[in-house]
Amino acid sequence: MIIRGDEPEQIRLIRKLYKPGNYFMQGDEAVSYGAIFAGCRFYAGYPITPASEIAETMARELPKVSGYYIQMEDEIGSIAAVVGASWTGLKSMTATSGPGFSLMQENLGYAIMTETPLVLVDVQRSGPSTGQATKGAQGDFFQARWGTHGDHTIIAVSPTSGQDAFWETIRAFNIAEKLRTPVVMLFDGVLAHTRELVRIPDIEEVEIAYRKLPANEEEAKLPFGDPHGDGVPPMPLFGHGYFTHVTGSTHKENGLRDVYTPEVHDKLVRRLHRKIEQNKDVYEKYEEHFTDDAEILVVSWGVTARPALGAVLKAREEGIKAGLFVPKTVHPFPGEGMKQLGKRVRAILVPEMNLGQMILEVQRFVNDDVLLKGVNKIGGVPLTVEEILREIRGVA
């Protein structure tokens, strides 16, 4: 179990098992190794294409680092077990794809309400429903944001390559631990199954964050308080004699249910929001390429950010002043960065493997005088450099 105090043994195991260097691996494998480097020692899941290789890799690797793999009876049970394990102090993860993600939504909400750190990887595939089970897509952008009910917050990150998946998985765990909240990773079937070069670093290069534990009995008695003013309560883990009560119902700072007092609900849910809003520095991340003098901005995420960069490079060769903005944390959307860029450019293109989802977030932050256009493709085949370039030329 990799909880504080256990690092030397874990570092010894990781050093012995995973020599730094370049490896040829699938995106799903890169996610798994990222999780293990981040300290994930509990995985519960249910097989689903195109996420199954994460389960397979975790089943193979976790026992080597004293970690636990369980194949549960369904996706609902998987995320439930992950929440249970997280309350014992284990860094925990599950991975799934669209239909499984839908099933996990209720307990994702539970994890938000009970402030349980975990990482949920959604390897997006075509939908709705069973859709194209083996094909990639980017249609779960809003399922990640609004899939569960109520006034909830969510943090979602999205990597753009196998290498990026390794580091973004680590970042997802660190965000989850620092803010005591679930973090969704929006991956996709294309990158999940693409084999490419991934550099495995030395464990020393990896930042490993741990959740805040109660400093004393007083703090342990208020598992849902805010003693440090950062909105993040220390987490009294199960098994330490704190007699902690955890419920998904509206609760007071001591954990006891109170669903009748409006102020209790208001205070709790507003703090959960504040926790995310005031800790932007923990999770906000985006990349900019050639944006300094850009007149046409391409905004893209996940798998599509790669052909988007290719298209921007080609456009530059043709003398078109194109730039690229890539949110790496897609929820909460990096609105301020978007807003600043939106003021400077003439046109914005948003390529996505869906019929237009992130474009709605972009729209919220740019003025009406900017030409805003989606570049959308569905059917399971990624957008190509040429397809995006054609659209850039069209607005040049």
Partner: protein, 284 residues
């Protein structure tokens, strides 16, 4: 008045005082179950610090979570056993107990119940079967007797009730027993056994809900329901010799299974040891 009663209760030390009084209706069997559980813990001298109690949604889910003073996890509807699975893996040396109702554990959560039994994970489940969805207003449950009236079977129930203990025993649990709230001492003994068994254990408690079930089925007084339990209870040894039609509407009580099978978390840790041995990963 209430304060006096609570302060006189000898097992009050096991209860979360700030959560009292309970939300259970007068005459509810939930109090008997909580009392039996507290007695079992007391008699076995289990430190509540070594207990994690998990429950789902509904009246019976409240019995121990929040009222029992231990680490308690009150989860989503039907998923208590799945949550408990993660807890048990993380804390293999603690006693992980699930206390919840029939609708929660055998209705929406039926799949987790049978798979936990199959896996034989060392969790003790106390399943409170009151034949009804009490908290949501008395709708038909998977355990409602054939012909009974509920708010969603206003004429009569045309479905057959789920035989929970039989199913869990068949699924592979290490220990299964069924009693009613009229069999308190036997119930305490079974909970004690279940807590000590290494493997998945289930104690099904047939419990009265005079408000939502009894009232609509000519048993509005709690005592009437208890008399109904006593009159219709058949010990399992006797039931084995009876024909299925003779057992219609009866409550078979007693121990269904008590056996040793490899336990999940033990096997999981054994596997980790083997893998680390195989790859030469053991510390110097």
């Amino acid at each position: 008045m209430a304060k006096e009663i609570y302060s006189k209760y000898p097992l009050i030390k096991y209860l979360r005082k700030e959560a009292l009084p309970t939300a259970l209706c007068p005459g509810c069997g939930g109090g008997t179950v909580l009392n039996a559980f507290a007695n079992a813990v007391d008699q076995l001298k289990i430190d509540p610090r070594d207990l994690v109690v998990v429950s789902g949604i509904g009246c019976s889910a409240w019995i121990a979570s929040p009222y029992f003073l231990a680490d308690t996890l009150h989860t989503t509807h039907g998923r208590a056993i799945a949550f408990a699975t993660g807890v048990k893996v993380g804390l293999p040396d603690k006693k992980v107990v699930v206390i919840s109702g029939d609708g929660d554990l055998a209705g929406i959560g039926g799949n987790h119940l049978i798979h936990a039994a199959r896996r034989n994970i060392d969790i003790t489940v106390i399943l409170v079967n009151n034949f009804i969805y009490g908290m949501t207003g008395g709708q038909v449950a998977p355990t409602t007797p054939f012909g009974a009236k509920t708010t969603t079977t206003p004429y009569r129930n045309i479905e057959h009730p789920f035989q929970i203990s039989e199913t869990v025993a068949a699924a592979g649990a290490s220990y299964v027993a069924r009693w009613t709230t009229a069999h308190v001492y036997q119930l305490i003994e079974s909970i004690k056994k279940a807590l000590q068994v290494k493997g998945f254990s289930l104690v099904e408690v047939i419990s009265q809900c005079p408000v939502q079930f009894g009232r609509r089925n000519r048993m509005k007084e709690p005592a009437e329901m208890l008399r109904w339990f006593l009159k219709n209870s058949v010990p399992i040894s006797k039931a084995k010799k009876m024909k299925p039609e003779e057992l219609e509407g009866k409550f078979v009580i007693g121990e269904f299974v008590n056996r040793e099978r490899p336990e999940f978390v033990t096997e999981l840790n054994k596997l980790i040891d083997e893998v680390q041995e195989h790859f030469g990963l053991k510390g110097e």
